[in-house]
Amino acid sequence: MTYIVEYMTQQHRCCDESFAAAEEAVSKQNWSEASAQMAVFSRDLGIHFTNEEEHLFLAFEEVSGNTGGPTSVMRVEHQQMRGMVESMTQALQAKDADNYLGLSETLMILMQQHNMKEEQILYPMTQQMLPDTAAVISSMNDL
């Protein structure tokens, strides 16, 4: 895939899968399955965030000369989500299903809203602005 929108959107969907699987396992108190899925989810989400922060956003900021704009909001939201993933991991280790589900509910909406902004605004914008999208994509890590 050479298009940023498709490539990155695909990564979002991939994270959704393990996220939903982990959540379902927690709700059934299946802790081993939950830990396994959560490990996949936090690894994939981490890779995706790094792809954005160190490759895509960086390239966008260079071309647009704008470091205080949309990408800075996205970076802040990544920090918020990282914090939530950490809290969820702690809840998982403590086998506290209520706390985990309360947090995961919040993270899910936060993440979907964040992804929506990227998919509908930021990715199409980078797609148009970057001179060599294929190079940026090949510099990123697959999930």
Binding site: F19, G102, M125
Partner: protein, 437 residues
């Protein structure tokens, strides 16, 4: 490309939408109380108490929540804020509250003086809302499908309000307007199906995939369905009788296909957890589909209720309480704790300790509260439907339904009130003075 004008961070202050949400249940409670006091209103749509109840529900509850939600949702889906939202909101709320009360008192006691007060109050509230919203919607350059749908919804609201104003002027003996009561159906149709369905559609395109990790609505549907709906609605409202009757039939098919499609997407959602928002969506879409079916059957002379006036009241109440209000109740269970969390998180972005101690969504609005809300609302709806078939027991059953609706709206107030208290208590102390001024 100019990236400076695009902001990905446009969430209005929390008190702006919450102010609307906290006022709405009071009007639901008032409407239920009227139904309890005047069950005989069910005999005619022109009964003074019926007109008062309907407007308490549509303006006081429905429009109140929809306006609050729209001020919140538009910046998220379009990346453009609603101009002067924070400054205008208290005035819009004040106009809507006082105007709706005056209008309802006017209907209840058929007092012209109340109508004279209601007209400028409601007119002013809608004028402020529609101009701010219209401006925001016009400013959005590359709007997605939701924005497209919201634009059409706002247009329908505008026409509904204009019709409503003309209607009110006949009550005030302003004959020069030349409006006749035969247009009441258009006022109701544009308000419920135009503004109501289009707004819900626009929001659902965005929210069903987002909240429930369900597949997205297909592009052609997101464009085609609202366009088709508006054209059919226009024909139904303004063509002559036989054409209009055909258009209404088509309209119920379009609306029910939206319901079937949404149910299917919800069924295919990835998040299969027990979730009362999903149940509310399902309840409302099932209501919608069944009502459309009954309408079509009625047109084909398969009568559920022989008395046509009663049948239309059943459709109206079923649509309003079973479809629209169910969705609102479901959305509030999610949107309110989410917004609270979002604002709390922003408030302590630099304070890791405070961040880790933040209550999560389920602590802000417990699942047990949502569960009770769902059960009370479903029970009230079921009793209401039953009352239409109860012959001699119609009034007693209606009064039972009214009591359960009263409980349900009171429960909503309690839930929102407690959630708001938990939110305020969780705010970092340093921020409180800023929030209150």
């Amino acid at each position: 490309m100019n990236t400076a004008g695009i902001s990905l961070d446009n969430v209005p202050e929390f008190r702006t939408p919450m102010g609307f949400f906290l006022l709405a249940p009071w009007f639901g409670m008032l409407a239920a109380l009227l139904l309890l006091l005047y069950p005989e209103m069910i005999g005619s749509r022109w009964h003074p108490a019926m007109l008062a109840t309907v407007h308490l529900l549509t303006l006081g509850f429905g429009a109140m929540i929809m306006m609050g939600a729209m001020i919140q949702v538009l910046p998220v889906v379009s990346s453009h804020p609603v101009p002067a939202a924070t400054a205008l909101s208290p005035w819009i709320r004040a106009g809507l509250v006082s105007g709706t009360l005056c209008l309802s008192l006017g209907f209840l006691f058929m007092q012209k003086s109340f109508f004279y007060m209601a007209l400028p109050l409601l007119g002013g509230a809608f004028l402020m809302f529609l101009s701010a919203m219209g401006l925001a919607l016009l400013r959005v350059k590359k709007g997605g499908d939701s924005v497209f749908c919201l634009r059409l919804a706002v247009l329908c609201l505008l026409i509904t309000v204009v019709f409503g104003v003309m209607q009110l002027s006949t009550y005030m003996d302003l004959r020069w307007v030349g409006y006749s009561f035969e247009r009441t159906n258009n006022h109701a149709l544009l308000g419920l199906v135009g503004w109501g369905v289009l707004l819900i559609m626009g929001v659902s395109f965005q929210v069903i995939p987002m909240f429930h990790v369900a597949p997205a609505f297909s592009r052609w549907f997101c464009r085609g369905c609202p366009i088709l709906l508006v054209i059919t609605l226009a024909v139904a409202a303004f063509a002559n009788d036989s054409v209009s009757s055909g258009a209404l039939l088509l309209l119920s098919l379009i609306v029910s296909s939206y319901g079937v499609y949404s149910l299917n997407l919800l069924y295919r959602r990835k998040r299969k957890l027990k979730d009362y928002t999903v149940r509310f969506w399902q309840l409302s879409f099932v209501n919608l589909i069944v009502l459309c079916l009954l309408y079509v059957l009625n047109k084909l002379s398969v009568f559920l209720l022989i008395e046509q006036g009663q049948f239309h009241l059943l459709l109206g109440f079923g649509f309003g309480l079973g479809f629209v209000v169910s969705i609102m109740l479901g959305m509030l269970q999610k949107i309110v704790p989410f917004l609270m969390f979002l604002h709390l998180q922003r408030a302590c972005i630099d304070d890791t300790d405070a961040f880790m101690r933040l209550p999560n969504m389920r602590q802000l609005l417990p699942v047990s509260d949502s569960k009770w809300q769902f059960q009370l609302h479903s029970a009230a709806l079921a009793t209401l439907y039953l009352s239409f078939f109860a012959k001699d027991l119609e009034h007693p059953l209606l009064m039972v339904a009214a009591v359960i609706f009263l409980l349900s709206f009171t429960w909503l107030l309690k839930t929102l009130w407690q959630a708001n208290r938990r939110y305020t208590e969780s705010l970092p102390q340093a921020l409180l003075p800023n929030i209150s001024d």
